[in-house]
């Protein structure tokens, strides 16, 4: 299994049989064996030089722990990782930035913290400034930067790292669309230059675009590794959507924190739990969650509905301004317990397509994300009725398919118009 030069399976190899204890549990010295949650268990894989590997998985699957272990931020409890090259990790944008320092100073500092040598930074300095488009403000403290400028500069430093192995965690979720595109392009360049990239993201479009191969983590284990398109199908279909219900049996693994934790998400249509929805029927999405915080207020349950391309079709919430029902729940204090929020989408609204549900639970004032469960469940909408053929053969184009009131009428009969036309001639 160990690396040898020239042999077929011997190149860059981070053979990894790793398991990391849940950080909190590890602190308590006298714990029973069955109380230990392994954030990663028996994870083993190899990545080649020049390969861009996508790492996907639901929240709590162990993606972040994997990146942290690989980038030596936390130590594995057991197992081994072999890295054939310098490793650079990009777990956030702006690592090492200090608001009081100028753009120029921050490039030097952040570069050094991310592992660049002084000469390297000097050599790439102009490229970084040009990439970030902050030439005019390079000697201004970054605390005076707009958030966009700050992000651009921070990413520019990171994008110009030259480690043999680069690990990226969802940093592309920031900035405007144009800049995101630029960042994706940069990542592609990095890979083409023969360097290895491990890319963790919820952005399916980005993973699809960048990574020929992907690895799917589930409950701290490698569920599947292979072609991205196939892994993604497993990810979207596999974990979620089975029977239209997802229940976290082990609440410690459920998305959430010590205040709020998800218990289950399910789809109900035509009176039963299902992942196949008739286009004519209403669809209810139920979110069951534990509230552990006594007297918590302003608790918002948000649902994002995405299509197969990762585009958000709609977002909705149980907040009074977004709720069409007169409900007096939102700003009341809530006793600890199990709660259910139900949102009903009308029939004849979604198109006949697969949809993916992302759930957030937030508290307002100040805004805090308590639960984030991306693509937790999926369902398919089927057209069984008469509209199927009426679309002109190819189905209805669009993210939604709403029956809208149409009125078509005769404005004037042809005979009445003829004298006018004649008069004009």
């Amino acid at each position: 299994m160990l690396g040898q030069r020239g042999a077929a399976y011997s190149t860059l190899r981070d053979t990894l049989t790793t398991a990391v204890r849940s950080p909190l549990k590890a602190l308590r010295s006298r714990q029973r064996q069955d109380e230990i949650i392994w954030a990663l268990e028996d994870v083993s894989f190899a990545v080649q030089p020049g390969e861009v590997l996508g790492i996907i998985g639901r929240n709590g699957a162990g993606k972040s722990t994997l990146l942290k272990v690989l980038s030596r931020i936390t130590e594995p409890t057991r197992g081994r990782i072999e890295l054939y090259g310098r490793i650079g990790s990009l777990l956030e944008v702006g690592t090492g930035f200090h608001p009081e320092l100028t753009g120029r100073e921050n490039i030097l500092l952040s570069g050094a913290i991310l592992g660049m040598k002084r000469l390297e930074i000097k050599r790439r300095f102009d490229d970084i400034v040009a990439f970030a488009e902050v030439e005019r403000f390079i000697d201004t403290p970054v605390k005076f930067y707009s958030s966009g400028m700050y992000m651009r500069l921070a990413f520019a430093v990171a994008a110009h790292l030259e480690p043999e192995i680069l690990m990226v965690d969802e940093v592309l979720a920031v900035g405007d669309a144009v800049f995101q595109k630029k960042c994706l392009g940069k990542m592609g360049d990095v890979a083409r230059a023969g360097r290895t990239v491990l890319f963790v993201s919820h952005n399916m479009t980005a993973v699809n675009q960048l990574c020929p191969r992907s690895l799917l983590l589930e409950n701290g284990q490698v569920k599947v590794m292979g072609k991205t398109s196939e892994v993604m199908t497993q990810y979207l279909k596999g974990g979620a959507g089975k029977g239209g219900e997802w229940v976290w049996k082990d609440s410690r693994r459920a998305p959430g924190n010590h205040r709020i934790r998800l218990q289950a998400v399910r789809i109900i249509s035509n009176g039963k739990i299902t992942s196949d929805v008739d286009i004519d029927k209403d669809v209810s999405i139920e979110v069951d969650f534990w509230n552990y915080a006594a007297g918590i207020r302003n608790l918002g349950v948000n649902i994002y509905l995405q299509d197969g391309m990762g585009t958000t079709v709609l977002s909705t919430a149980n907040t009074p301004n977004a709720n069409s029902l007169e409900e007096d729940w939102f700003d009341q204090p809530h006793a600890p317990g199990l709660y259910r929020a139900t949102c009903t989408l009308p029939g004849n609204f979604l198109n006949d397509a697969p949809y993916y549900i992302t759930v957030y639970v937030i508290t307002l004032g100040p805004l805090a994300i308590e639960v984030e469960a991306p693509q937790v469940l999926s369902f398919d909408v089927f057209d069984t009725g008469g509209m199927r053929e009426a679309g002109g053969g190819g189905g209805w184009v669009g993210a939604v398919r709403v029956r809208l009131p149409w009125r078509t009428e005769l404005l004037a009969p042809l005979e009445d118009l003829q004298p006018v036309e004649a008069g004009q001639a």
């Binding site: 690396g3 040898q4 030069r5 020239g6 399976y9 011997s10 190149t11 860059l12 190899r13 950080p23 909190l24 590890a26 602190l27 083993s44 894989f45 190899a46 990545v47 080649q48 030089p49 020049g50 272990v69 980038s71 030596r72 931020i73 936390t74 130590e75 594995p76 409890t77 057991r78 197992g79 081994r80 990782i81 072999e82 890295l83 054939y84 990790s89 777990l91 956030e92 690592t95 090492g96 200090h98 009081e100 320092l101 100073e105 500092l109 050094a112 913290i113 991310l114 592992g115 040598k117 002084r118 191969r213 284990q221 569920k223 599947v224 590794m225 292979g226 072609k227 196939e230 497993q234």
Partner: protein
Amino acid sequence: MPTTTSDTDSFLPPPSALTLPEKPLVTIEPKGWWVGVNLRDLWSYRELLYFLTWRDIKIRYKQTLLGGAWAILQPVFMMLIFTIFFGRLGGVKTGEFPYALFAFAGLVPWTFFANSVTVSGNSLVGSANLITKVYFPRLLLPAAAVAAGLVDFMLAFIVLVGLLFFYMVPPTWNLLMLPPLIALTVLFALSVGMWLSALNVKYRDVRFALPFMIQVWLFVSSVIVPSTGVPERFRWLLLLNPMSAIIEGFRSTLLGLRFDWTALSIAAVITLFALIGSAYSFKRMEKHFADII
């Protein structure tokens, strides 16, 4: 066993055109009960020590009116207060030298030590965002804090030299002891700061106990009263505090007094053990930093 998608051997990497070194550059494994300080790793990150020190210096006096003058004002004000209360009112005997000079010669290394320990003791907690996001030898953070303190020390030292000129104290060969004494102070400050910084990650009590501890420490470090002013039967206790020997050593260096070689040797030995001990316990605690900070 995980399942694979299309090809049965997708776990086996495809052959690669690029050749790689025979041995991995880095191997990550859990460490056993014995943890050594990886000096090679530290050395390869020496540039980062420079940058972190530079950052600490740069931001220390940002958005202050007086800026670097604080490095001088701190010991100078302390000197004035000590001179009034202990020199005049307390009548502390300082031999042939005026109390102001006596106090300032001790306050310059003491201020360096006190600030270094305070800043480095809080260095890890203050850089939580770095520790959870990127790898580098964590030891660099307290080390950079101590190194940055040296700049303040130099500034205050210039004032001290001026004071020596003012009182017309002639330089002696004792000045040769200055570099080893500074080195000893740095190492002792590093060992205390390093240990406290690691402890601070787990127990934030350190942050509150630290200022108090430093204040008490000042009174037993021969800054205010020379060791000769301490009753004979308690004097051996001062030997257990390296700062006392170091500060007396500084005075001997600058004022041309006799060195207490016994006290200095004991201080050096204690510093050595403190350094090894605190580096060891730092490494022991290091692996949990990212999880609990």
